[in-house]
């Protein structure tokens, strides 16, 4: 396998670090009750998000789930609208109407995410269908958890996408839990990769938490979409560091032991990616400089969000429908 270039490695690290830094910003301020909405944190999934988004071009499109802080940040690189949205402010990306669970930024290719499991999968198939009809070469990616595989919408969408041969990359981020229900309570099958492999698709699996490895798999999967004119499917394992919803740990409640977390932490995506940069000869000081710039950007966005005005009350009634003129 050809080694990932220094340039791409730096981009990968920037994405991973931005997600970590922004989520630290959320955690530090959430307890002050300034973001009054549920948060589903991305910590632990950064390798998948950064790796896949790095393999996409800006004009390529992505959809995700309610756990999409990482996706938003990696796809858009934008933090002002992000934090203002978390705070429910007028300057938020959607004027405060969306919040953490309904992020979108179509101009940067983030079509949207949704808080009902599996609901964006068919939408992604439609986005990809339109791209196919328009012959614009754009790739669409849809991120979902392993719980989504139990929803009918997943199978309906997989079938349609394979039938119509749309340029769509399915990314299953498997953390082993649907809220707190483990695989044993939910899975009536052995291997999702085997089943999806029976469809007209290209299937890839990995348990790596190295962003470079994911980037290479995603690149290959996207190339296969172009080459075979069939959708690709990635089944990727990761470990959710924090509770299902909220900014704290949940190892005390009993459904998973902290020893698991410690095991996965040894291969923490940020730690691995930082090590990759050092191995490529990038100096510690240069990395620290990168980190400082990102931390400053996050701090500034949080400060802007804190001081931004609330939406006008009249906003409640606006944009239910599009009105001409």
């Amino acid at each position: 396998m050809k080694a990932v270039s220094k340039k791409i490695a730096i981009e990968l690290y920037k994405k991973v670090y931005l997600i970590r830094s922004a989520e630290r910003g959320i955690i530090n301020n959430y307890k002050r009750n300034v973001m009054k909405s549920p948060m589903h944190m991305s910590m632990g999934e950064e390798a998948i998000i950064a790796g896949v988004c790095q393999a996409l071009r800006r004009q390529d499109q992505a959809l995700g789930t309610y756990r999409s802080h990482g996706l938003y940040l990696a796809k858009t690189g934008e933090t002002d609208g992000f934090f203002a949205e978390m705070y429910g402010k007028a300057s938020g990306n959607a004027g405060g109407k969306a919040g953490s669970m309904f992020l979108s930024r179509p101009s940067a290719g983030l079509v949207g995410v949704s808080a009902v499991v599996a609901t964006t999968i068919p939408v992604a198939a439609g986005v990809a269908y339109a791209n196919k009809v328009k012959r614009n070469g754009k790739i669409t990616t849809v991120f979902f958890g392993d719980g989504a595989i139990e929803e009918g919408a997943f199978w309906e969408s997989l079938n349609f996408a394979c039938l119509k041969k749309v340029p769509l990359l399915f990314v299953c981020e498997d953390n082993g839990f649907a809220i707190h229900a483990g695989e044993a309570a939910r899975h009536g099958y052995k291997s999702i990769a085997d089943i999806v492999g029976k469809f007209e698709s290209n299937v890839f699996t990995s348990s790596s938490t190295d962003p470079e490895v994911i980037f290479e798999i995603a690149t290959k999967a996207i190339n296969m979409i172009k080459k075979t004119k069939k959708p690709s499917f990635l089944h990727l394992k990761y470990y959710r560091y924090l509770e299902h919803v909220g900014v704290g740990e949940d190892f005390a409640v009993g459904y998973r032991p902290k020893s698991e977390f410690k095991k996965w932490m040894k291969a923490d995506p940020m730690k691995l990616m930082r090590g990759n940069l050092l191995k490529k000869g990038i100096r510690e000081e240069a990395i620290m400089q990168l980190e400082k710039i990102i931390d400053k950007k996050v701090e500034r966005s949080i400060s802007l969000a804190e001081n931004a005005p609330d939406p006008a009350k009249s906003e409640l009634y606006k944009n239910v429908f599009y009105e001409k003129g």
Binding site: G126, Y129, G152, E156, F321
Partner: protein, 364 residues
């Protein structure tokens, strides 16, 4: 010529003016043809769209003319296919999704209530969702509990969806054209008995505005607000009562949401009486919505309480005798009008009421 079972084209008698007469289904087909020619972003899809039945003929010939990328059959996946429509709409196409039974549209309720209706609002108004959904409603021929629903109230309850029920061929065309140009999700409910109704429809393309009702019959004694097929029944009832000197005004809201309250309120203020004949269940139904609007805005002018006619709170049964009990018709409207105007009951024994029997033998 009065409507008879031999001449089910009641609307032809009542609604027609001079001009070209075509059926409701041909009017829908013409709208699709003309709009698809005009706007290359439009594609039509759904189970049965390109088959020999072609959604009661409304999509006939579209595949041959526009090709399989713009006209296609789908897997039996109503939920996902609705999501596909949303995604295509977000990427600049205009999907028209067809359901040969509104009962099947309910499989897509998740996408409609959680996604399609919400998307623009939750994007902060940055995107548009031009998405038309056509679904067939209403009574057929022993269709029973899962092939004959009328769910306008269910969908009109959800902010972000427009709900349309054309009653005349002219409105079928004009409202479908408007829906295709609206840049919002619009659900069109088409009663299967209306497909063969004939009426005057201009050949050239035209729009009938969404959110605007129409006075289908001018009158001064009593207002009947009717939806979909119930307009045909209301006209029959009006003809019967005309012979006794009663002048009935029929208001067809045409759009269930957003509702043209003014046209209803103006009519009721004039007549002082209001009956709502909705092609749907009474409980928590559209008729209750209209009754609430009328009692709120016409309280001083009302000479009697608002009366509602619709389906009882039961599933629709198959047996003909029970089906006839389930569906109200012109006779029911006559009786309610007589009650409100304190008239002796008319002798309806010689009257022949509309029935599908003479025209249709099934099985579909």
């Amino acid at each position: 010529m009065p409507p008879t079972p031999q001449n089910p084209s009641c609307i032809k008698t009542y609604f027609m003016k001079k001009g070209r007469y075509i059926t409701y289904k041909d009017a829908l087909r013409e709208a699709l043809l003309q709009e698809m020619e005009r706007d290359h972003r439009i594609f039509v899809y759904g189970l049965g769209v390109p088959d020999h039945n072609a959604i009661f003929g409304t999509t006939k010939g579209l595949l041959e003319k526009f090709g399989p990328e713009r006209v296609f059959d789908t897997p039996l996946s109503e939920d996902a296919m609705t999501g596909v429509g949303l995604g295509a709409a977000l990427n600049g196409l205009i999907p028209v999704h067809h359901h040969i039974r509104v009962d099947f549209l309910l499989l897509a309720f998740n996408q409609l209530a959680n996604m399609v209706s919400v998307w623009r609002y939750a994007s902060g108004g940055r995107v548009k969702v031009p998405f038309v959904i056509r679904a067939i409603i209403g009574r057929g021929w022993g269709q029973g509990a899962q092939h004959s629903k009328s769910t306008q109230a269910v969908f009109a309850h959800i902010p972000g969806l427009k709900v349309v029920m054309p009653s005349t061929p002219r409105d079928a065309k004009g409202l479908l054209v408007s829906a295709l140009r609206d840049d919002n999700p619009v659900i069109i409910f088409e009663h299967r008995w209306l497909y063969d109704q004939e009426g005057e429809v201009p050949e050239e393309s035209f729009t009938t505005p969404l959110g605007k009702g129409s006075i289908l019959r001018k009158g001064k004694d009593i207002t009947v607000v009717a939806t979909s097929w119930m307009n045909v029944e209301a006209h029959h009832a009006s003809e019967i009562l005309k012979q006794r000197g009663v002048s009935v005004e029929i208001v067809d809201p045409r759009t269930i949401y957003p509702l043209d309250e003014k046209i209803i309120v103006d009519s009721v203020k004039k007549t002082g009486h209001c009956i709502v004949a909705d092609n749907g269940w009474l409980n928590c139904g559209f008729s209750a919505e209209v009754a609430a609007v009328v009692s709120n805005k016409c309280f001083g002018e009302l000479k009697s309480p608002v009366e509602r006619i619709g389906f009882p709170a039961t599933p629709c049964p198959m047996a003909r005798v029970l089906e006839n009990e389930f569906y109200p018709n012109a006779a029911d409207i006559v009786r309610v009008i007589e009650k409100k105007l304190k008239l002796e009951p008319s002798d309806l024994s010689g009257e022949i009421f509309y029935s599908y029997e003479k025209r249709f033998k099934g099985p579909f």
